[in-house]
Protein backbone atom coordinates (compact mmCIF):
# COMPACT_ATOMS: atom_id res chain seq x y z
CA UNK A 1 0.00 0.00 0.00
CA UNK A 2 1.44 3.38 -0.91
CA UNK A 3 1.72 6.21 1.56
CA UNK A 4 0.66 9.78 0.97
CA UNK A 5 2.05 12.77 2.89
CA UNK A 6 -0.89 14.75 4.21
CA UNK A 7 -0.46 17.93 6.25
CA UNK A 8 2.91 16.66 7.43
CA UNK A 9 1.57 13.20 8.38
CA UNK A 10 2.07 9.91 6.58
CA UNK A 11 -1.40 8.71 5.67
CA UNK A 12 -1.60 4.99 4.82
CA UNK A 13 -4.12 5.60 2.07
CA UNK A 14 -4.38 7.55 -1.13
CA UNK A 15 -6.47 10.54 -0.21
CA UNK A 16 -7.45 12.73 -3.13
CA UNK A 17 -5.72 10.39 -5.58
CA UNK A 18 -8.04 8.35 -7.79
CA UNK A 19 -7.44 4.84 -6.54
CA UNK A 20 -8.99 2.95 -9.41
CA UNK A 21 -8.36 5.33 -12.27
CA UNK A 22 -8.80 3.60 -15.60
CA UNK A 23 -5.80 3.75 -17.91
CA UNK A 24 -5.93 6.65 -20.35
CA UNK A 25 -6.06 5.72 -24.02
CA UNK A 26 -2.60 5.33 -25.41
CA UNK A 27 -1.42 8.30 -27.43
CA UNK A 28 0.74 8.19 -30.51
CA UNK A 29 4.44 8.28 -29.72
CA UNK A 30 6.66 10.77 -31.56
CA UNK A 31 7.87 7.90 -33.75
CA UNK A 32 4.28 6.94 -34.61
CA UNK A 33 3.52 10.58 -35.46
CA UNK A 34 6.46 10.43 -37.84
CA UNK A 35 5.20 7.14 -39.33
CA UNK A 36 1.78 8.68 -39.86
CA UNK A 37 3.33 11.73 -41.56
CA UNK A 38 5.45 9.44 -43.74
CA UNK A 39 2.38 7.41 -44.72
CA UNK A 40 0.35 10.42 -45.87
CA UNK A 41 3.43 11.99 -47.50
CA UNK A 42 4.26 8.72 -49.26
CA UNK A 43 0.66 8.38 -50.50
CA UNK A 44 0.92 11.91 -51.92
CA UNK A 45 4.24 11.03 -53.57
CA UNK A 46 2.71 7.97 -55.24
CA UNK A 47 -0.09 10.14 -56.65
CA UNK A 48 2.58 12.41 -58.14
CA UNK A 49 4.97 9.82 -59.57
CA UNK A 50 2.60 7.07 -60.71
CA UNK A 51 0.41 8.12 -63.64
CA UNK A 52 -1.77 5.00 -63.55
CA UNK A 53 -2.44 5.59 -59.87
CA UNK A 54 -3.08 9.30 -60.41
CA UNK A 55 -5.52 8.56 -63.25
CA UNK A 56 -7.52 6.18 -61.05
CA UNK A 57 -7.96 8.89 -58.41
CA UNK A 58 -8.45 11.92 -60.66
CA UNK A 59 -11.75 10.38 -61.79
CA UNK A 60 -12.97 12.02 -58.58
CA UNK A 61 -11.45 15.48 -59.09
CA UNK A 62 -8.45 17.57 -60.12
CA UNK A 63 -5.05 16.50 -58.83
CA UNK A 64 -4.52 19.75 -56.89
CA UNK A 65 -7.87 19.41 -55.14
CA UNK A 66 -7.19 15.75 -54.37
CA UNK A 67 -3.78 16.55 -52.87
CA UNK A 68 -5.34 19.27 -50.71
CA UNK A 69 -8.02 16.83 -49.59
CA UNK A 70 -5.41 14.18 -48.77
CA UNK A 71 -3.54 16.76 -46.68
CA UNK A 72 -6.78 17.67 -44.85
CA UNK A 73 -7.56 14.01 -44.18
CA UNK A 74 -4.04 13.57 -42.83
CA UNK A 75 -4.55 16.47 -40.43
CA UNK A 76 -7.94 15.15 -39.35
CA UNK A 77 -6.89 11.49 -39.07
CA UNK A 78 -7.57 9.97 -35.67
CA UNK A 79 -5.81 7.33 -33.64
CA UNK A 80 -8.14 4.60 -32.49
CA UNK A 81 -6.49 2.36 -29.90
CA UNK A 82 -8.68 -0.63 -30.83
CA UNK A 83 -6.41 -3.42 -31.92
CA UNK A 84 -8.83 -5.34 -34.06
CA UNK A 85 -8.15 -3.84 -37.47
CA UNK A 86 -5.58 -1.66 -39.26
CA UNK A 87 -7.59 1.33 -40.41
CA UNK A 88 -11.06 2.49 -41.37
CA UNK A 89 -12.94 5.48 -42.72
CA UNK A 90 -16.14 7.18 -41.67
CA UNK A 91 -17.88 9.84 -43.77
CA UNK A 92 -17.10 10.95 -47.30
CA UNK A 93 -15.12 13.69 -49.06
CA UNK A 94 -13.77 16.48 -46.90
CA UNK A 95 -15.91 15.22 -44.01
CA UNK A 96 -14.21 11.83 -44.04
CA UNK A 97 -12.22 10.76 -40.99
CA UNK A 98 -9.49 8.16 -41.42
CA UNK A 99 -8.97 6.11 -38.27
CA UNK A 100 -5.60 4.49 -37.74
CA UNK A 101 -5.26 1.58 -35.32
CA UNK A 102 -2.23 -0.05 -33.65
CA UNK A 103 -1.49 -2.66 -36.38
CA UNK A 104 -1.04 0.26 -38.82
CA UNK A 105 2.18 1.15 -36.99
CA UNK A 106 3.67 -2.36 -36.89
CA UNK A 107 7.01 -3.03 -38.55
CA UNK A 108 7.46 -6.79 -38.14
CA UNK A 109 5.58 -10.05 -37.54
CA UNK A 110 5.28 -9.75 -33.77
CA UNK A 111 2.21 -8.55 -31.86
CA UNK A 112 0.14 -6.16 -33.94
CA UNK A 113 2.24 -7.01 -37.01
CA UNK A 114 0.51 -10.41 -37.08
CA UNK A 115 -2.85 -8.65 -37.44
CA UNK A 116 -1.38 -6.44 -40.17
CA UNK A 117 -0.39 -9.59 -42.08
CA UNK A 118 3.39 -9.17 -42.03
CA UNK A 119 5.77 -12.11 -42.37
CA UNK A 120 9.49 -12.50 -42.96
CA UNK A 121 10.63 -12.99 -46.55
CA UNK A 122 13.85 -15.03 -46.48
CA UNK A 123 14.47 -14.37 -50.15
CA UNK A 124 14.36 -10.58 -49.81
CA UNK A 125 15.47 -10.38 -46.16
CA UNK A 126 12.64 -8.16 -45.06
CA UNK A 127 9.14 -8.17 -43.57
CA UNK A 128 6.38 -8.06 -46.18
CA UNK A 129 2.61 -7.88 -46.20
CA UNK A 130 1.03 -11.22 -47.00
CA UNK A 131 -0.80 -10.39 -50.26
CA UNK A 132 1.03 -7.37 -51.70
CA UNK A 133 4.66 -8.19 -50.79
CA UNK A 134 5.04 -4.55 -49.76
CA UNK A 135 7.26 -3.69 -46.80
CA UNK A 136 5.50 -2.07 -43.80
CA UNK A 137 6.29 1.54 -44.82
CA UNK A 138 5.01 0.92 -48.35
CA UNK A 139 1.97 -0.95 -47.06
CA UNK A 140 1.11 1.99 -44.80
CA UNK A 141 1.05 4.21 -47.90
CA UNK A 142 -1.19 1.66 -49.64
CA UNK A 143 -3.49 1.69 -46.61
CA UNK A 144 -3.78 5.49 -46.78
CA UNK A 145 -4.53 5.33 -50.53
CA UNK A 146 -7.11 2.61 -49.81
CA UNK A 147 -8.89 4.75 -47.20
CA UNK A 148 -8.53 7.86 -49.40
CA UNK A 149 -10.22 5.91 -52.21
CA UNK A 150 -13.12 5.16 -49.83
CA UNK A 151 -13.44 8.86 -49.02
CA UNK A 152 -13.63 9.56 -52.77
CA UNK A 153 -15.91 6.59 -53.48
CA UNK A 154 -13.64 5.19 -56.20
CA UNK A 155 -13.44 1.63 -54.83
CA UNK A 156 -16.25 -0.73 -53.77
CA UNK A 157 -17.60 -0.60 -50.23
CA UNK A 158 -16.03 -3.25 -48.02
CA UNK A 159 -17.96 -3.10 -44.77
CA UNK A 160 -19.64 -6.40 -43.86
CA UNK A 161 -22.98 -4.86 -44.86
CA UNK A 162 -21.75 -4.76 -48.46
CA UNK A 163 -19.59 -7.88 -48.29
CA UNK A 164 -20.48 -10.44 -45.62
CA UNK A 165 -17.58 -12.67 -46.71
CA UNK A 166 -15.07 -10.03 -45.55
CA UNK A 167 -13.03 -10.58 -48.73
CA UNK A 168 -13.69 -7.19 -50.37
CA UNK A 169 -11.27 -5.37 -48.05
CA UNK A 170 -8.38 -7.50 -49.31
CA UNK A 171 -9.69 -7.19 -52.90
CA UNK A 172 -9.62 -3.41 -52.52
CA UNK A 173 -5.99 -3.65 -51.36
CA UNK A 174 -5.36 -5.62 -54.56
CA UNK A 175 -7.09 -2.90 -56.64
CA UNK A 176 -4.89 -0.19 -55.09
CA UNK A 177 -1.80 -2.39 -55.53
CA UNK A 178 -2.67 -3.01 -59.18
CA UNK A 179 -3.17 0.73 -59.88
CA UNK A 180 -0.45 2.15 -57.65
CA UNK A 181 2.00 -0.75 -57.17
CA UNK A 182 4.66 0.79 -59.40
CA UNK A 183 4.74 3.97 -57.31
CA UNK A 184 4.45 2.12 -54.01
CA UNK A 185 7.42 -0.09 -54.89
CA UNK A 186 9.54 3.00 -55.54
CA UNK A 187 9.00 4.28 -52.00
CA UNK A 188 11.79 3.85 -49.43
CA UNK A 189 11.72 0.54 -47.59
CA UNK A 190 12.67 2.10 -44.24
Amino acid sequence: MSTTRLYGYDCPCQLFIPQNSVKLPPELTPLQHLMKAHAFGDADTVLLIDKKCRDSFTKAGKLGDLRNLLRTLGENAQYDPNATSIAGTTGKGAAAIIKLRPPFFANDDTGYGQLAGYSWSPTRNRYEELYTDLVPRQYRALTILHEFAHALNVIPEDSLRADPTGQQSQKNDAIIDEKCGKGLNRLPVQ
Partner: protein
Protein backbone atom coordinates in the same frame (compact mmCIF):
# COMPACT_ATOMS: atom_id res chain seq x y z
CA UNK B 1 -8.50 31.21 17.52
CA UNK B 2 -6.84 30.63 14.15
CA UNK B 3 -4.96 27.56 15.55
CA UNK B 4 -8.27 26.15 16.82
CA UNK B 5 -9.77 26.60 13.35
CA UNK B 6 -6.92 24.67 11.68
CA UNK B 7 -7.09 21.90 14.29
CA UNK B 8 -10.83 21.57 13.62
CA UNK B 9 -10.27 21.41 9.86
CA UNK B 10 -7.53 18.77 10.20
CA UNK B 11 -9.76 16.82 12.55
CA UNK B 12 -12.54 16.78 9.98
CA UNK B 13 -10.16 15.75 7.22
CA UNK B 14 -8.77 12.85 9.23
CA UNK B 15 -12.24 11.77 10.30
CA UNK B 16 -13.55 11.69 6.71
CA UNK B 17 -10.37 10.15 5.34
CA UNK B 18 -10.92 6.86 7.17
CA UNK B 19 -13.65 5.52 4.87
CA UNK B 20 -11.51 6.47 1.87
CA UNK B 21 -8.76 4.26 3.22
CA UNK B 22 -11.16 1.35 3.19
CA UNK B 23 -12.36 1.74 -0.37
CA UNK B 24 -9.56 -0.47 -1.71
CA UNK B 25 -10.93 -3.42 0.17
CA UNK B 26 -14.29 -3.01 -1.54
CA UNK B 27 -12.81 -3.63 -4.97
CA UNK B 28 -12.88 -7.07 -6.47
CA UNK B 29 -9.50 -8.47 -7.48
CA UNK B 30 -9.52 -10.43 -10.74
CA UNK B 31 -6.96 -12.71 -12.25
CA UNK B 32 -5.51 -9.99 -14.49
CA UNK B 33 -3.96 -8.56 -11.34
CA UNK B 34 -5.75 -5.24 -11.75
CA UNK B 35 -8.36 -4.12 -9.27
CA UNK B 36 -11.70 -3.50 -10.87
CA UNK B 37 -13.52 -0.31 -9.93
CA UNK B 38 -16.65 -1.42 -8.04
CA UNK B 39 -19.01 0.41 -10.36
CA UNK B 40 -17.62 -1.38 -13.42
CA UNK B 41 -17.53 -4.75 -11.66
CA UNK B 42 -21.13 -4.25 -10.54
CA UNK B 43 -22.24 -3.17 -14.01
CA UNK B 44 -20.63 -6.25 -15.53
CA UNK B 45 -22.07 -8.55 -12.85
CA UNK B 46 -25.56 -7.08 -13.27
CA UNK B 47 -25.54 -7.13 -17.07
CA UNK B 48 -28.73 -8.59 -18.48
CA UNK B 49 -28.39 -11.81 -20.49
CA UNK B 50 -29.83 -11.18 -23.93
CA UNK B 51 -29.86 -13.42 -27.01
CA UNK B 52 -27.92 -11.69 -29.78
CA UNK B 53 -30.85 -12.00 -32.20
CA UNK B 54 -33.12 -10.34 -29.61
CA UNK B 55 -30.73 -7.39 -29.45
CA UNK B 56 -31.12 -7.00 -33.20
CA UNK B 57 -34.86 -7.53 -33.34
CA UNK B 58 -35.72 -5.30 -30.35
CA UNK B 59 -32.87 -2.77 -30.29
CA UNK B 60 -34.91 0.03 -28.69
CA UNK B 61 -35.32 -2.12 -25.59
CA UNK B 62 -31.57 -2.45 -25.12
CA UNK B 63 -30.23 0.84 -26.51
CA UNK B 64 -27.50 2.17 -24.16
CA UNK B 65 -27.93 -0.79 -21.80
CA UNK B 66 -25.13 -3.03 -20.60
CA UNK B 67 -25.87 -6.55 -21.78
CA UNK B 68 -24.25 -9.96 -21.85
CA UNK B 69 -24.60 -11.79 -25.14
CA UNK B 70 -23.08 -14.62 -27.17
CA UNK B 71 -22.06 -14.17 -30.80
CA UNK B 72 -19.30 -14.67 -33.34
CA UNK B 73 -16.59 -12.01 -33.39
CA UNK B 74 -15.07 -11.35 -36.83
CA UNK B 75 -12.29 -8.94 -37.73
CA UNK B 76 -10.29 -8.14 -40.84
CA UNK B 77 -8.12 -5.17 -41.91
CA UNK B 78 -10.97 -2.68 -41.67
CA UNK B 79 -13.90 -4.31 -39.89
CA UNK B 80 -14.54 -5.78 -36.46
CA UNK B 81 -18.06 -6.96 -35.71
CA UNK B 82 -20.32 -9.43 -33.93
CA UNK B 83 -22.89 -11.56 -35.70
CA UNK B 84 -24.97 -14.64 -35.08
CA UNK B 85 -25.51 -17.43 -37.62
CA UNK B 86 -29.07 -17.68 -36.21
CA UNK B 87 -30.06 -14.27 -37.58
CA UNK B 88 -27.42 -13.69 -40.20
CA UNK B 89 -28.26 -10.79 -42.47
CA UNK B 90 -26.22 -7.96 -43.98
CA UNK B 91 -27.97 -5.47 -41.69
CA UNK B 92 -27.49 -7.54 -38.53
CA UNK B 93 -23.78 -7.04 -37.92
CA UNK B 94 -22.90 -5.14 -34.76
CA UNK B 95 -19.76 -2.96 -34.90
CA UNK B 96 -17.43 -3.50 -31.95
CA UNK B 97 -15.40 -1.01 -30.00
CA UNK B 98 -13.49 -1.79 -26.81
CA UNK B 99 -14.12 0.10 -23.59
CA UNK B 100 -11.07 1.12 -21.57
CA UNK B 101 -12.28 -1.20 -18.81
CA UNK B 102 -11.63 -4.15 -21.15
CA UNK B 103 -8.11 -4.09 -19.66
CA UNK B 104 -9.59 -5.51 -16.45
CA UNK B 105 -10.70 -8.70 -18.21
CA UNK B 106 -9.43 -12.09 -17.15
CA UNK B 107 -6.00 -12.49 -18.73
CA UNK B 108 -6.50 -16.15 -19.61
CA UNK B 109 -9.71 -15.32 -21.51
CA UNK B 110 -8.05 -12.40 -23.34
CA UNK B 111 -5.16 -14.70 -24.29
CA UNK B 112 -7.51 -17.42 -25.51
CA UNK B 113 -9.49 -14.83 -27.51
CA UNK B 114 -6.28 -13.55 -29.14
CA UNK B 115 -5.20 -17.08 -30.05
CA UNK B 116 -8.58 -17.91 -31.57
CA UNK B 117 -8.70 -14.59 -33.42
CA UNK B 118 -5.23 -15.30 -34.79
CA UNK B 119 -4.74 -19.10 -34.94
CA UNK B 120 -1.78 -18.96 -37.33
CA UNK B 121 0.35 -16.00 -38.27
CA UNK B 122 0.05 -13.75 -40.11
CA UNK B 123 -3.69 -13.38 -39.58
CA UNK B 124 -5.20 -10.42 -41.43
CA UNK B 125 -8.63 -11.82 -40.58
CA UNK B 126 -10.04 -14.16 -37.96
CA UNK B 127 -13.05 -15.12 -35.88
CA UNK B 128 -14.00 -16.55 -32.51
CA UNK B 129 -17.21 -17.47 -30.71
CA UNK B 130 -17.44 -15.15 -27.72
CA UNK B 131 -19.58 -14.21 -24.75
CA UNK B 132 -19.22 -10.48 -24.19
CA UNK B 133 -20.47 -7.87 -21.76
CA UNK B 134 -20.81 -4.41 -23.20
CA UNK B 135 -22.93 -1.34 -23.81
CA UNK B 136 -25.24 -1.86 -26.77
CA UNK B 137 -26.16 1.13 -28.96
CA UNK B 138 -28.49 1.58 -31.89
CA UNK B 139 -30.08 1.63 -34.30
CA UNK B 140 -28.27 4.69 -35.66
CA UNK B 141 -29.31 6.53 -38.82
CA UNK B 142 -25.77 7.83 -39.26
CA UNK B 143 -24.26 4.38 -38.79
CA UNK B 144 -21.28 3.11 -36.83
CA UNK B 145 -17.82 1.92 -37.76
CA UNK B 146 -16.12 1.52 -41.12
CA UNK B 147 -17.93 3.44 -43.86
CA UNK B 148 -20.77 3.98 -41.37
CA UNK B 149 -21.89 0.54 -42.48
CA UNK B 150 -23.34 -0.72 -39.21
CA UNK B 151 -26.72 0.09 -37.59
CA UNK B 152 -25.58 -1.11 -34.18
CA UNK B 153 -22.53 -0.93 -32.00
CA UNK B 154 -21.42 -2.65 -28.81
CA UNK B 155 -18.68 -1.19 -26.64
CA UNK B 156 -17.13 -4.32 -25.17
CA UNK B 157 -16.23 -4.15 -21.47
CA UNK B 158 -15.43 -7.84 -21.03
CA UNK B 159 -14.98 -10.93 -23.11
CA UNK B 160 -16.24 -13.44 -20.58
CA UNK B 161 -15.62 -16.56 -22.68
CA UNK B 162 -14.06 -17.42 -26.01
CA UNK B 163 -14.09 -20.63 -28.01
CA UNK B 164 -13.50 -21.85 -31.53
CA UNK B 165 -16.26 -21.26 -34.05
CA UNK B 166 -17.78 -24.66 -34.80
Amino acid sequence: MRLQFYVTIIGFLLAFSTPACNTRSSTMPESSGLEVPPSIAQAVAKAEDVRFCDLISKPERYNNKIVRTEAVFYANHENSALYSPECLDTTNYVWTDFDLSYDYSDESVMKKFSELRCPHVPCPSGKAKVTVVGRFEGPSQEGYGHLNGYRFRIVIMRIVAAEKVS
